[in-house]
Symmetry: C2
DNA sequence: ATTGGTGCAAAGCTTTTGCAGTAGC
DNA sequence: GCTACTGCAAAAGCTTTGCACCAAT
C-alpha cells in the first residue's frame, strides 16, 4: 500500500539499479549531513538552493528505495506530520547519536552517550527484540521547557 | 499552525469546558483501553460500532484538547501515517509499558520492564532532559522478523 | 532496444479549519 | 442568553501513484 513493507532484502539483486543525475545529487546531500536527519521538504529545498532541483516524487521514490536497501532510516518526528530521513550507509560516521523529542516545544535534541548503548544491549536479552538505539526516539521535556514550567508556577 | 504547541498549560482555567455527549463517549472508549494506544480512525470505528458515532472533526478536536490537558499522549507509530493516542489520566493504571516498533513488519509490541525505568532515571541526569519512558518508542527488529531473516540466508 | 528513472499532475490519506446550527451552563 | 461544542464539508499538508517521455546499460 505504501511501499513500507519491503519484500526485497538488503542487497537483493532482482532489480537492476541505475546511476542517474537525481540519485547522485540526493545521495550527495544526504551524506553531507553527517548523520543528522532531514525532512523530504528540507531536502527538496536544499537541492533547489544548490541549483540542482529534483522532483518531489523522485525524492520520495529514491528515499523509499534507500530505506529498502538499509542505507537510510526513516523517522516520525512528532512536531509536524512530516518524516525525517537519515543516511546511515558508509561514509556516515555520525551514527552514535539518538534523539530526544521535547513534547512541549517539539524540539529535537541530538544526544550521544555510550552508556545508553550498554543499556540497550541488556534490554535486547530481556525483550526478544533487537533494539537499534540509533533508530529510537525518546519523548520527554527539554531543559528550557522545564525551566519555563517552573517559573510559571 | 497545527495546534500542537499549546499556550495553555495543564489545568489552565481561562476556557470553560463543557460536558457533552461526544466527550463522554470518547473518554469512555479511551479509558476502556487500559492504557493501550489507539488511532483516531480506530477510535472512530469503535464509537461507530457501539452505535454512538462521533464526527472525526470532533474527535480530533477533543483529542487535541485532552493532549493539552495532559490526559492523553500522542504518538507517531511509523507503520502508516496516522498517529496513536493513549489515555494517561486517572483510572489508567496500565502506564507501565513502552513500545517496541519493528522496522521490518511495522508491528508494535508492548513491553513492560521495571529495569528500563531505572535506566531512564540515570539518563535524566546525564542529558538535561526529562525522559518519559512511557512515551518513548524503540525501533528494532522483532523475533519473528529476525527468524525470517535468518532462514532466508 | 530494453526497461529503470524522471518530472508533472492528479489522487490518496490523515488531520485541520470554517461555518451554521445545537446544547451546556 | 451566552458561547463552547458539534457535525458537515471543504481545505490543507505530506506522500504516493499514473503516465508519458527520457536515458542508463
Amino acid at each position: 500500500m505504501n511501499g513500507y513493507k519491503s519484500e526485497k532484502g538488503v542487497g537483493d539483486a532482482t532489480v537492476t539499479r541505475r546511476n542517474t543525475r537525481a540519485k547522485t545529487l540526493i545521495l550527495k546531500c544526504l551524506k553531507s549531513l553527517g548523520g543528522k536527519h532531514i525532512t523530504a521538504e528540507e531536502l527538496s529545498e536544499m537541492l533547489k538552493s544548490e541549483n540542482t532541483p529534483v522532483a518531489k516524487s523522485t525524492l520520495y521514490r529514491f528515499l523509499a528505495q534507500l530505506e529498502q536497501d538499509g542505507l537510510v532510516k526513516k523517522y516520525f518526528s512528532g512536531e509536524n506530520a512530516s518524516c525525517c530521513y537519515r543516511f546511515v550507509g558508509e561514509g556516515s560516521e555520525c551514527n552514535e547519536h539518538f534523539h530526544l523529542l521535547c513534547r512541549q516545544c517539539g524540539e529535537i535534541t541530538h544526544f550521544e552517550n555510550p552508556m545508553l548503548e550498554q543499556m540497550m544491549k541488556k534490554l535486547d536479552g530481556a525483550t526478544d527484540f533487537s533494539i537499534d538505539i540509533h533508530d529510537s526516539q525518546f519523548y520527554g521535556t527539554c531543559k528550557t521547557c522545564m525551566r519555563k514550567a517552573k517559573s510559571e508556577k
